[in-house]
Structure formats: structure tokens, C-alpha cells
């Protein structure tokens, strides 16, 4: 199935993305750094107005603990806003289809899902959410969770950069949040929303329309504020679509052009983050290391996914085709976006393995902002391991990596399997899996394991969909999504805060900006992740594949 022309499509898209990501990183440096920008004249008055409304002292910088607390409290309050809108949507305006309130557990799951940049959806958007819910319940959080990811990443980068250009602390969370919105996410989303309308995605607030089809039956055209949602949900690596079928629904993804623009949008900001890191620490080579390692892992995932021949089958859209369906599925998990353009059940289990890899690693290149954060976590662990093997004190960017840093990084790393595997086991042991009609076979196990992996990785793609709308799955995945979001952010802000204080030596004990280190990093990540998760992949998709072979004999 995959020929030279398909490889050219992949390479062409990558080259385009890397080029624009490099340009974008220059701009991002003006957004988060001290450099002046020509656009300041427009943006500064708008931002000052917003700071005034919030009651913010913009000159105050925060130490890592304060930065983290504000990330957490702001995320909680914005989730509360969304929860209230969803829970009371039946009483609220802009609901022309008169959809009733969501249940408490579904409203809770949805608010915690979107605010943690996960976008696991146990609701069918087109058939249960009012326009107000789609806009204030969903789109608002898609903006703020993406902006929070960016803010956290630049705060961490400032920590790794050391004290040279900061008075103290990691910056001001609200300044980073607001500038991410006014200067990056809102303008780009607006431009691409308009482009999406031009190529066919609806944008309307006047209610669904009823039409009579050629065969005389009635058909509902579910038009709504779709284009404005699709642009931020891809750009912000959120992934929560307007409709339950996500980007497999033609109103959300009408043609190949919209398909590839959406892929490009989810790739652009995560790809620019390693460059931004390089710029902010003033060593472009270190950014290159992160970029090579993440795209190297992404390439490995793609190679695995294209081993089986995928043909157009049930669960795929004819206008998207098998190649773009597989390419998208690997990409949406590699960037932990989670939007889908085909039903996951349509694929050979071999395609699901790289989808798992993307979510288990979370840095291939990972979600907006946090992808590079995870790569820094792996770097801390890797330089420690390499340091042990070479018998030298581990160092990164000239700063000593202490036992305390490594402990924190390991807590961040190990929290991932814990919050995936424990709830998976509980779901089976307490009968909740059985209650939604799933069994103990490899297919069922794969789908339940995928559910919690996707929740923990803040990805959001899933097999369950509205089947997962039970109190147990709503509450358990909500907890997993927040733990999966905020434990690693806590750990990495702590490491960044500690490293910022540390003296830098100019002597280099281990080069991390050459061509060897990214390879060491890739191998170390694969070993860590495979050692942790292989048994579960074995009784899930791998066994599923072997059963398929056995049945075919």
C-alpha cells in the first residue's frame, strides 16, 4: 500500500512543518522573552486591559511552587465554569435544539477532560451539547488548556536557562497564559477557522436544519460553531471534536485539504517548542537534540503502523482513504491530540501498537508545550543513567543533575504506569468492564487499557466513546486525566526551579548536542517504556494480532 509517493507525502509534510515551526519559534521568543516586537503596539494595550480586568500585577514573577499553584487553581476554576455550563445547559440560552442538562458525572468528566487538554469524550457533541456548551463549555477550555501547556513549557525553559536574564523565578503564569492567547492561539485559530469555513466546515448559530432527501426521508443537518472549534482543537492538540465521530464526520473534515490542514495544525506548535527551547537557553544544538529524538520516535511509530496493508474498510471514510487514516492515527497519538478521522476499531492491531507508543512516551513530539517537557524529563533520566555508566557526575547544560532531580523525574515517569494500570485492574476486578458489555479477551482488554492510557496521556482518542458514559468510567478517567496532567507538570516545574538556582560550569562532561546523544535518548526511552508496558501490550494488541493470524489459518 505504501509507495514512494506516500513517503514523499510524509517527508513533504514534515519538511513544511519543521520549516514553519522554526519561523514560529522566532516569533514565540518575542512572545515569552524580553525581546521587543513590532506587534507590541497592538497587543500591549489589549493585554493591559485584560490584566486590569483580572486584577493582575504583571511585573510580579513567581517561583516554581507559586507558578504551579496558579496553574492548578486556574485550571480548577476554569473547569468549574465549564462544569456549570454543561450541568445547567437546559436552563441556559443559545440552545436552539433544546438539549437537556448533562448528568453530573458526564459534566464532571467533560470539564476535567477538556481542561486537562485530554478531550476524552463520553458525550456525543452533535447530539447532546448546546451551542453555548460547545463554545463556553468546550472551546474556552481548549484555548486555556493549550495556553497553560505553552505557559508551563516556557516556565520550565526559563528554569533550564538559568538566572542570566531573569531577576528571579520562572515568570508570571497569567502573563504567559494571556500572551499565549492574544498573540498565538486566538489569532492563528481565527485565521484557520476562516480557512476551514471556505473549504466547507460549517459555522452557524441558527440551529440544526431539517431537510427532505431525495428518497423523501427527513435528514438533520447538524450545523453549528464547528469551524471555530476545529481550528483550536487541532492547534491546541486538544482533539475533542464537535461531533462524536470527530474528524471522520464530514462536517468536521470535508475533504483531503481540510484533512492535511488539520494534521499540520496539530503538528506546528509542538514542533516549534524544541526550537524555542534552543533559543531560550541560547544553545540551538540542544533544541535540535530534542527535535531529532522526538521525530525519530515518531518515524519508528510510522514504520510499524505501515507494516500491515490497510485497505479501505468499515470505519473509514472514502474521501480520506486508508493511507491518510493510518498517517493521521499515528500522528494524533504522537502529538497526543486524540482527534480521529476513522474509527480505531477499523485498524489492524499492529496500527494500534504505535498509537499506544505515542501515548506511553508522550514526547514524540507530544502535546502542546508538555511534549518538550516530557522530553526534558527523559533527558534528566538519561544523563543520569549515562553518568552512572561512565562513572561521572551527571550534568545537563552545565548544571549538576542531583539525586533529588532524578527522584523527581522518576516520580513523573512512574506516575504514568501507576495511573493507567491501577484503574484498568480496578475496572476489571470490580465488574465495571463487564457492566458495559466488555469481556476479558484481548480485544476488550486492548480497548479498556487504551481508555486509561489515553486519559493518562491527555490524548483523548478512544474506543469507548459514549459507551464510557457510566459513573465509574466518568469519575475514574476524570481523576486519571488530572493526575496525568498535573503530576508531571508539578515534577518538571520543581526540577526547573531547582536547576535555575544551580551554578553552571563551562566544562562539558557529556555532550548532549551532538548526533550520538539523540540516539542514546531514543534507545533509553524505548527501553524504559517497553520494560514498563510490554506485558500489557502483549496481552492486548499483540495477542489480538496473533489471534487474527491463527483465525486466518
Amino acid at each position: 500500500m505504501i509507495g514512494i509517493r506516500h513517503i514523499l507525502v510524509i517527508v513533504g509534510l514534515w519538511a513544511t512543518i519543521v520549516f514553519f515551526a522554526w519561523i514560529l519559534s522566532k516569533y514565540l521568543e518575542t512572545v515569552y522573552g524580553d525581546k521587543e516586537s513590532k506587534l507590541d503596539r497592538i497587543f500591549i494595550p489589549v493585554e493591559n486591559f485584560i490584566y486590569g480586568l483580572i486584577g493582575l500585577d504583571k511585573n510580579k514573577t513567581m517561583k516554581w511552587k507559586e507558578y504551579f499553584l496558579n496553574v492548578l487553581i486556574f485550571s480548577a476554576f476554569s473547569a468549574v465554569v465549564s462544569f456549570l455550563i454543561l450541568y445547567y445547559q437546559g436552563y441556559l440560552p443559545i440552545n436552539p435544539m433544546h438539549f437537556p442538562d448533562l448528568s453530573w458525572s458526564l459534566a464532571l468528566n467533560t470539564a476535567m477532560s477538556i481542561s486537562s487538554n485530554t478531550n476524552l469524550q463520553h458525550y456525543g457533541g452533535g447530539s447532546s451539547l448546546s451551542y453555548l456548551s460547545q463554545m463556553v463549555g468546550i472551546q474556552f477550555l481548549q484555548f486555556t488548556s493549550a495556553a497553560t501547556g505553552l505557559a508551563v513549557a516556557v516556565a520550565i525553559f526559563r528554569g533550564f536557562a538559568g538566572k542570566k536574564n531573569q531577576t528571579e523565578g520562572l515568570g508570571n503564569f497569567y502573563v504567559d497564559l494571556v500572551r499565549s492567547l492574544t498573540r498565538v492561539l486566538i489569532p492563528l485559530s481565527f485565521i484557520f477557522a476562516i480557512i476551514f469555513i471556505i473549504i466547507g466546515i460549517p459555522q452557524s448559530l441558527s440551529g440544526y436544519t431539517l431537510v427532505r432527501t431525495l428518497s423523501g426521508s427527513e435528514q438533520i443537518l447538524k450545523i453549528g460553531p464547528v469551524a471555530s472549534l476545529v481550528s483550536i482543537m487541532q492547534l491546541g492538540t486538544n482533539g475533542g471534536g464537535y461531533f462524536g465521530a470527530n474528524s471522520a464526520f464530514p462536517f468536521q473534515n470535508p475533504n483531503p485539504i481540510s484533512n492535511y490542514i488539520q494534521m499540520a495544525l496539530m503538528m506546528i506548535i509542538p514542533t516549534s517548542m524544541p526550537f524555542l527551547f534552543g533559543r531560550m537557553i541560547n544553545r540551538m544544538g540542544e533544541g535540535r537534540t530534542i527535535l531529532i529524538a522526538s521525530y525519530g520516535l515518531y518515524a519508528i511509530d510510522l514504520i510499524i503502523a505501515f507494516i500491515p496493508v490497510t485497505v479501505l474498510g468499515a470505519g473509514m471514510e472514502a474521501g480520506i482513504g486508508p493511507f491518510s487514516s493510518v498517517f493521521w492515527t499515528v500522528t494524533t497519538t504522537a502529538f497526543t491530540t486524540g482527534s480521529v478521522n476513522a474509527s480505531l476499531a477499523a485498524f489492524n492491531p499492529i496500527v494500534i501498537i504505535p498509537a499506544f507508543m505515542g501515548m506511553l512516551i508522550q514526547a514524540t513530539p507530544g502535546g502542546i508545550g508538555v511534549g518538550t517537557m516530557y522530553m526534558l524529563m527523559y533527558i534528566v533520566i538519561t544523563v543520569f543513567i549515562v553518568g552512572l555508566m561512565a562513572g561521572r557526575t551527571p550534568e545537563y547544560l552545565g548544571a549538576k543533575i542531583t539525586a533529588g532531580d532524578v527522584k523527581l523525574a522518576v516520580i513523573g515517569f512512574l506516575s504514568h504506569p501507576i495511573i493507567i494500570l491501577i484503574p484498568t485492574v480496578i475496572a476489571y476486578a470490580a465488574g465495571y468492564v463487564h457492566a458495559i458489555g466488555y469481556g476479558t479477551g484481548p480485544t476488550s482488554f486492548t480497548q479498556i487499557f487504551y481508555e486509561f492510557t489515553s486519559a493518562a496521556a491527555n490524548n483523548g482518542s478512544d474506543f469507548l466513546g459514549t459507551t464510557g458514559n457510566t459513573v465509574f468510567f466518568n469519575v475514574s478517567t476524570a481523576i486519571v486525566m488530572w493526575a496525568g496532567r498535573f503530576i508531571p507538570i508539578f515534577v518538571m516545574l520543581a526540577i526547573a526551579g531547582r536547576i535555575q538556582e544551580r551554578r553552571r560550569s563551562s566544562e562539558i562532561s557529556l555532550r548532549t548536542d551532538d548526533i550520538i546523544f539523540p540516539i542514546v535518548l531514543i534507545v533509553s526511552i524505548l527501553i524504559l517504556v517497553i520494560l514498563t508496558f510490554f506485558p500489557f501490550l502483549a496481552i492486548g494488541p499483540i495477542l489480538m494480532h496473533l489471534e487474527g493470524i491463527k483465525n486466518a489459518l
Binding site: 509517493r5 507525502v9 480586568l53 483580572i54 499553584l69 496558579n70 487553581i73 486556574f74 476554576f77 476554569s78 468549574v80 465554569v81 463554545m135 472551546q139 474556552f140 484555548f143 486555556t144 497564559l177 492567547l181 481565527f190 477557522a193 476562516i194 469555513i197 471556505i198 473549504i199 466547507g200 460549517p202 459555522q203 452557524s204 448559530l205 436544519t209 431537510v211 427532505r212 432527501t213 431525495l214 428518497s215 435528514q219 443537518l221 450545523i223 469551524a227 471555530s228 461531533f243 465521530a245 471522520a248 464526520f249 464530514p250 462536517f251 470535508p254 475533504n255 483531503p256 479501505l312 474498510g313 468499515a314 470505519g315 472514502a318 474521501g319 482513504g321 486508508p322 493511507f323 491518510s324
Partner: protein, 154 residues
């Protein structure tokens, strides 16, 4: 804990909910409804000036005289079929209606798109084919005449 720990995040959540959740989508809607109305309202398909659906939402037909969509895809309303499937269906339509194969092949050819723009899987929009067929042959094919009359009546 300091009260300010909560006032700033609460106010930020409310202010940003208004900016990102109301002002932004309403502004996009204003541009869409002002300048790009056809697409913004769902790319509706017309037959004899009457709305009969959207080109983006597939509709199944019961008659073998028309092009039918697949019912197994992820969305359930995939408007597109592969060219291979369209050509197979064209043979049946030709046998039932006597519309020439060359006309049907040309119709499919003119509406063919590719999943990777210039290559990849070839596909066509089934509703587009059906509307062209009905418009061109409603005087000759009984079923098309009935559909045409019904649409015009309602």
C-alpha cells in the same frame, strides 16, 4: 492562604471564558455568515431550487437506479464512494435505465477526486452524481421524474 490566591484565577477564568468562549466564536460566525454563507450553512445541495440535503452528508437511496453510499463507515454519513464502486453501480444503473455507459463513465470521471489531491484512492460524491442524473433525465426515467415532481411539489 492569601485571598488573592483565589481572586485572580477566578476573575481570569471568567474573563477568558467570555473572550475565548463567546467573543471569538461569535466573531468567526460573523465573518462566516457575512462573507462565506454557502459553506458556513452546510454546503446545501439543490434540485430545481429546492434543498435536498448537503453535499457533505451522505444519504442512502433505496433504488438501484441511483448511486448509493456505503453504510459502514466511521461517521455513518460518508458522502463519498470509491470510483471502483461507482463504476460497478453505473453498470446496474445502465441496465435499469438505459442511460448510456459512456454518459455515466463521463459523469463519474468529471466528478472524480483523489484522497491525496493528485493521487491516492479515487472517489466521487454520490449525491452530486445523483443530482446530475435526475436533472438530466427526469423526463426519461420514471423514478427520476417522480423524485423531481415530489421535490418541486413540497
Amino acid at each position: 492562604m492569601n485571598k488573592k490566591y483565589f481572586t485572580v484565577p477566578v476573575r481570569a477564568a471568567i474573563v477568558l471564558a467570555v473572550i475565548c468562549g463567546l467573543i471569538y466564536p461569535v466573531a468567526v460566525t460573523a465573518v462566516g455568515q457575512g462573507f462565506i454563507q454557502y459553506q458556513a450553512n452546510g454546503s446545501v445541495a439543490l434540485l430545481n431550487n429546492t434543498t435536498v440535503g448537503s453535499y457533505l452528508i451522505g444519504q442512502s437511496v433505496t433504488s438501484p437506479d441511483l448511486f448509493n453510499i456505503r453504510n459502514d463507515s466511521a461517521s455513518g454519513v460518508d458522502p463519498d464512494i470509491t470510483v471502483v464502486s461507482a463504476l460497478n453501480q453505473a453498470t446496474i444503473i445502465h441496465n435499469n435505465t438505459n442511460i448510456s455507459m459512456s454518459y455515466l463513465q463521463k459523469l463519474i470521471h468529471n466528478n472524480t477526486r483523489y484522497t491525496l489531491l493528485f493521487f491516492g484512492t479515487a472517489y466521487v460524491n454520490a449525491l452530486r452524481l445523483n443530482l446530475e442524473l435526475i436533472t438530466a433525465f427526469h423526463n426519461r426515467v420514471t423514478l427520476y421524474g417522480e423524485i423531481y415532481a415530489n421535490i418541486t411539489k413540497s
